[in-house]
Symmetry: C2
Subunit: 395 residues, 2 copies
């Protein structure tokens, strides 16, 4: 009945989303405080109070016909200018409103970028582990996602394997920095090396290869490490951003794309992405939230909250003998499964009412992802369950 392309998507519905639904059911059955749901990246920190204040002010001061109305498909010009100014201030860039397209979250933005770039059969690379939806986004436009195998010691990109994976059909590389699910940050040296490889390959193949940088976690950094702004290292860049995590507004679907003027055929590309925003049915990013995001662009959710969760989990799980890299950013930990088939471990954890996501959902089996954007109590109260799991597996 449904389209053939959707058949397998329905049969293999997102494990993450299934767990989200399952977690809600378990919460009803056992009580919300007895279920330790680390499955979804749904921030548990409330939006900064300025979000509420700004909405109330906009409702009082602005003409509702404009506030809730259509604007150019790329977004309100003043909002785009504010985004550009904020980036320039922080990263010493020289963007204007003409480099910014407001989008329905980063997911919407990535789809617009891929629609604008991909022809059937085009290849898009990504470093495993990567956010599982990238594969679906690329497939939407009949592209093929090719993964570069993970270095499971460091979770940094394997640059040799990357260089070998670039072909004349390569149209883009999607990176996610800080990384979901590993929590690592790719440092400047890595970004420079990636840029060098792509420059070389572009010359070799006479092609244009884009880095699409998915950056919803840019502000969630615990270590003082800096996250390089990709367009400063490589011209053919499209940066996708979402306010979901920084302003704790994931349900509002507000983000933006940056297309630097140095990108090949910038104006036409900008126009293509803007038209993709329209024809894919987004039309424009939600209007009120565009204005809110612009006003709150220098606000941040309380990262101390996530840092505390990270620390309590890190210390305890280390003591229990679990193996993983201490995350530098985002709000995920990627833990080595005590058994080769991590789905078995996920099932055992569920018996302790602990919900984690199998690494195979991130093209990295043998690991599980734990999202610690939950309450501190959830973290603390989950520890006995983790301890039992550790004992069970003799860690």
């Amino acid at each position: 009945m449904i389209s053939k392309r959707m058949e397998s998507l329905v049969d293999n519905n997102s494990v993450i989303r299934q767990m989200f639904e399952e977690g809600k059911k378990m919460a009803e059955e056992f009580g919300a405080d007895k279920v330790y749901d680390f499955s979804l990246g749904n921030p548990n920190v409330p939006a900064p109070s300025k979000v509420k204040d700004t909405i109330e002010r906009l409702l009082s001061e602005e003409d509702p016909v404009i506030l809730h109305g259509y604007m150019a498909n790329a977004g309100f010009p003043d909002v785009r200018a504010k985004v550009a100014d904020s980036l320039n201030k922080r990263f010493d860039t020289a963007f204007t409103a003409d480099n910014v397209i407001m989008t329905v979250g980063a997911a919407g933005g990535l789809n617009c970028a891929l629609k604008a770039l991909l022809d059937p059969g085009d290849e898009v690379l990504s470093f495993a582990p990567y956010f599982v939806e990238y594969r679906n986004y690329v497939a939407n436009y009949d592209g093929v996602l090719k993964e570069v195998a993970p270095d499971t010691e460091t979770f940094q990109p394997d640059l040799k394997a990357f260089e070998e994976a670039v072909t004349p059909k390569t149209r883009a590389l999607i990176i996610n920095n800080p990384n979901n699910p590993s929590g690592v940050i790719y440092p400047e040296s890595t970004i420079k090396a990636i840029a060098d490889i792509l420059e070389k390959k572009q010359k070799e193949f006479g092609s244009e290869i884009f880095i699409i940088s998915d950056e919803p976690y840019r502000e969630l950094v615990y270590t003082g490490a800096s996250v390089p702004y990709i367009s400063k290292y490589y011209a053919n860049t499209i940066v996708g951003y979402s306010f979901s995590k920084t302003l704790s507004l994931p349900g509002e679907r507000i983000g933006y794309l940056v297309i630097p003027s140095e990108a090949a055929d910038h104006e036409r590309l900008f126009q293509a992405v803007t038209i993709a925003n329209r024809v894919l049915g987004f039309v424009n990013a939600p209007s009120l939230m565009q204005k809110v995001a612009a006003e709150c662009i220098d606000e941040k959710a309380d990262i101390g909250f996530y840092a505390r969760n990270r620390d309590v989990l890190y210390d305890a799980l280390k003591e229990y003998g679990f193996s993983y890299i201490k995350p530098e950013g985002a709000f995920y930990m990627f833990i080595k499964s005590p058994v080769p088939d991590e789905k078995e471990f996920v099932a055992e954890a569920k018996k302790e009412r602990i919900l984690v996501v199998p690494g195979s959902s991130f093209a990295c089996p043998g690991f599980v992802r734990l999202s610690y954007c939950v309450s501190y109590e959830t973290c603390v109260n989950s520890l006995p369950g983790f301890k039992k799991l550790s004992e069970k597996y003799g860690l």
Copy 2:
């Protein structure tokens, strides 16, 4: 540089959107009160005051983590239940939350429905004149939009031509009732006749053919005419709705799809559409506006405002000798061009600072669309320009 599929879209960028941009530039040059921009369906009526009140109340009373957070991809269950209840009360249907998916406007909803239904080469029918984006939406999923030629006397569907156009490859018919751009309403007898033809063809071809009913203008009816609720006449129905026009929230991108339980393989189809919502990057309809729409579901924008515009334009343009059908619904008039090439007429109108959209954008050349969701003053002040045009063409 950009994908081949996007090349022609960029080269033939939406005439409507181009005029929107041009209108804004003309307003800067001549002053907003000297430009009569009838190009875009951007409601000029402010949202009902309950929208503002509801947002303020939700901000005070609701937990921001829930109000702005992720929920199931189909939307908040309580919102979906309220939509179902409202429909049941008004149309004597029996929907539940399991029949409703909240979407990023009707445009987002239609894309999800088409993604769920179409395989490459599948055919989708629509009656000309139709909203030009349907062609792009269908092409997004490698379907082919086939138009049924217009009956330019009545602008009602040509049922004989329709029956002949249905083939074994036909997967859906998109209808828009009340119609953009003609403003006509398809009455119950027409809906019944369409349903009969499709039932017959489904049996003949052993196929499932869906009516996708795009209904953003459902509440904008001037004549007391009733707009039939399609699922009561035909099982394989998907209704797309947007609050853009009724609540004057077009920029907020909030709407829903209804998939009745009688539709073939309902559960799997519902799941496929929900997954399409996720993988296309919408993820979910904007969360705050979901709650607002549910609370304001029985509110309506002031239709008297549009009725007054309709009347003043109707009376004057009739007097000037223009030829068209008096619209029964929506906020569009579809006027016969005084010259065969309506683009010439559009250009002449622009000299009077009157912006209208050529009918070729709706697969119906020889006509122009006029959106009267503008201020009353715009309508009144445009009349001398229309009079001059009438004199110029000797009407």
